[in-house]
């Protein structure tokens, strides 16, 4: 089945990092579970009318955000898209603040001004969720350039979808980042679809990112994005290389979104067989099983799950008790002086 075989086309199939000790792996499980539950509950809040506007869930793609965040230094930079809740939460941003932003509350991450598609938290290295396809790839390169110039050994990691590989900004960012040898990792989360259109029907190559790597003199890297161990090992290698001045990497992580593109989309265009096959590769139950097989106890896993469940409910309680946004702020913060005057 297309896209199911993760080593297909990858010159160097990544190996599972078997050194990760159990504690670390439990953390990886906890984080994936946090992201899963965070978004499942967000979806319910939509249904309940507490969240308005639009929203794009990454349910099924949690292993990628988890693996990369675990490989990053606290001062590294994350750039992501409208489908970015996971990446922001994985960098340590408060769930309550993100829920608050989705609900458009005063205590939301950007006080309601950004919304679901524009989460940003510089103190966590989360330098933005971008809603125009492709735009953030060159911006991530810019943060990497700044790190290179300042000599801080920070790395920028930039997440985007398969559909994004066909837009011009992708090409400009990749070429320039390689020429300038910037410490930036480009991570294509290939969830097989742009919005409703299968990526294969609009792309000249089978692996939209991996098959383009050579056009930038980069190694072709295609991994199982649903296996957090694989993701973490790949992330560590690429980030270490970039930190040491080895330049960018382009990584294609194959995955699947369990739901539709956005709130409006029931995703009925997807063949049931395809959905079934990918649901069998759901990163969470599979990783849970792997941990049990590796010696983790059922009770420890359940403890984690319960702790996460109550963390998420607490965050929701906090967010729902936030007041609506203060209208007095609406004219603030266009300019660095705090205001928005266009005249003297």
């Amino acid at each position: 089945m297309k896209g199911m075989s993760v080593s297909n086309g990858a010159p160097v199939p990544p190996t599972v990092n078997s050194d990760a000790d159990l504690a670390e792996r439990l953390d990886l499980y906890r984080m994936q579970h946090r992201l899963r539950l965070f978004e499942q509950r967000a979806n319910e809040l939509y249904v309940d009318g507490l969240i308005r506007g639009t929203s794009h869930l990454a349910t099924g793609q949690e292993a990628i955000a988890t693996g990369f965040a675990a490989a990053m230094r606290p001062d590294d930079y994350t750039f992501c898209t409208y489908r970015g809740h996971d990446h922001v939460v994985a960098r340590g941003v408060s769930m309550a603040a993100v829920y608050g932003e989705l609900m458009g509350r005063e205590g939301g991450l950007m006080g309601g001004k950004g919304g679901s598609m524009h989460l940003i938290s510089p103190e966590h290295g989360a330098l933005g969720s971008y809603a125009i396809v492709g735009a953030h790839l060159p911006i991530a390169a810019g943060a990497a350039w700044s790190a290179q110039y300042r000599g801080t050994e920070q790395v920028a990691v930039c997440f985007f979808g398969d559909g994004t590989t066909n837009i011009g900004a992708f090409h400009e960012a990749l070429n320039t980042a390689v020429v300038w040898k910037l410490p930036v990792i480009f991570v294509c989360e290939n969830n097989q679809y742009m919005e409703y259109t299968p990526i294969g029907s609009v792309t000249a190559v089978a692996h939209p990112a991996a098959d383009r790597a050579s056009a930038y003199g980069l190694a072709s890297i295609l991994i199982d994005g649903n296996d957090v161990d694989v993701v973490l090992a790949t992330a560590r290698r690429a980030i270490a290389n970039a930190r040491q001045g080895g330049g960018p990497a382009l990584i294609e992580a194959e995955t699947y979104r369990h739901g539709g593109h956005s709130r409006a989309d029931p995703a009925s265009y997807r063949p049931p067989d395809e959905v079934r096959a990918w649901m069998a590769r759901d990163p969470l139950p599979n990783y849970r099983a792997r941990l049990l097989a590796a010696g983790a106890s059922e009770s420890v896993l359940q403890e984690i799950e319960q702790a996460v469940a109550s963390e998420v409910e607490r965050a929701i309680d906090q967010a729902t008790s936030m007041p609506p946004p203060d209208g007095a702020r609406v004219l603030n913060d266009l300019w660095a002086n705090g205001g928005s005057a266009w005249r003297n």
């Binding site: 639009t54 001004k113 971008y130 809603a131 409703y196 259109t197």
Partner: protein
């Protein structure tokens, strides 16, 4: 007459024109199999087949390049850019290539093409998916600009845009897609460049566009309750601009208000105001007032967005205060 939604009118106009002319082709992202993310084009793929209704990669420069090259060589393409905010990723094609080629070529090249796009705010999508950018198009010589406020105009003006021999940008307002109106059945084509007086009143002229037309009409109702009767003009097209209807009304009422969804600076109302200040200054009884979104990106939260978009209450209050 049949009741149609605004989005239904898009499909109706496309169907009417594609039935009529085999050279009309339609392309965009998620427009064919999925029928468009705003569900404005369902059924077209089935009716006209995959050669005439085509899904594209996320590559807006490619989409408009395809449309332009096809228009140069005998076709009449209709290209969808999913959100008007994304004009920014293909602005070169729009502003530098499509708009300028006829003039630069001394008339050797004609470009009969339409760019349809979902424009405007009010649905809490945030700053990058809510812009009203009619002025972006208006400021570029060589583009015609249409922005219907209701389903009937959508059908008639989109059909006219497709038949027009020049590039036409059709702004479809996202917040109007679900609205319904009586729409003429059968072939229906309106002329481009005719504004419509949608309410008559002697006390002031209120000029609006697209989703601001219902806002202005609602404001007019509020004002009427206070004894102020205003004329409301739905511009419908920005290029060509129906200055006659505009100026005639201003000369009658002596007052001009614009209701603009765009952020203030260089909005379409600035142009309208400058035309009136040049050509109807002697008829003006007082200042020309522009009611716009403040010069800000649109905030995402519903409460904040509602604060900055022109509302019937703000329009009515501004007019009352000015006329008093």
């Amino acid at each position: 007459m049949a009741e149609l939604t605004y989005r239904g009118a898009v499909a109706a106009a496309l169907t009417q024109e594609m039935d009529r002319d085999h050279n009309v082709v339609f392309l965009g992202e998620d427009v064919a199999a999925a029928g468009g993310v705003f569900k404005a084009t369902p059924g077209l793929l089935d009716r006209f087949g995959p050669l005439r209704v085509r899904d594209c990669p996320i590559a807006e420069q490619a989409i408009l390049g395809l449309a332009m090259g096809a228009a140069m060589t005998g076709l009449r393409p209709v290209a969808e850019i999913m959100f008007s905010d994304f004009f920014a990723v293909c602005w070169d094609l729009i502003a530098n290539e499509i708009a300028k080629t006829r003039y630069m070529s001394n008339g050797k090249i004609t470009l009969p093409l339409v760019i349809r796009t979902a424009n405007g705010g009010g649905i809490h999508f945030g700053a990058q998916h809510s812009q009203s950018v009619e002025n972006w198009a208006m400021m570029i010589p060589g583009l015609k600009v249409v922005a219907p406020s209701n389903a009937a105009d959508m059908k008639g003006l989109l059909a006219a845009a497709i038949r027009d021999p020049d590039p036409v940008i059709v702004f479809e307002h996202k917040n109007l897609y679900a609205t319904k109106a009586d729409v003429p059945e059968g072939e229906y084509v309106l002329p481009l460049g005719e504004a419509k007086v949608v309410r008559h009143g002697p006390h002031a002229t209120v000029v609006a566009l697209a989703a601001m037309v219902p806002v202005a009409l609602r404001a007019a109702q509020l004002l009427a309750a206070d004894g102020i009767e205003v004329t409301v003009i739905d511009l419908r097209c920005l290029v060509p601009l129906d200055t006659a209807t505009l100026l005639n009304s201003v000369r009658e009422t002596g007052w001009l208000f614009t209701v603009e969804e765009n952020p203030r600076l260089c909005g379409w109302g600035a142009e309208v105001a400058s035309i009136a200040a040049e050509e109807a200054i002697d008829s003006l009884s007082g200042p020309i007032i522009r009611i716009t979104t403040p010069h800000l990106p649109l905030p995402a939260a519903e409460e904040l967005e509602a604060l900055v978009l022109p509302s019937p209450e703000r329009v009515a209050a501004t007019i009352t205060r000015t006329l008093r």
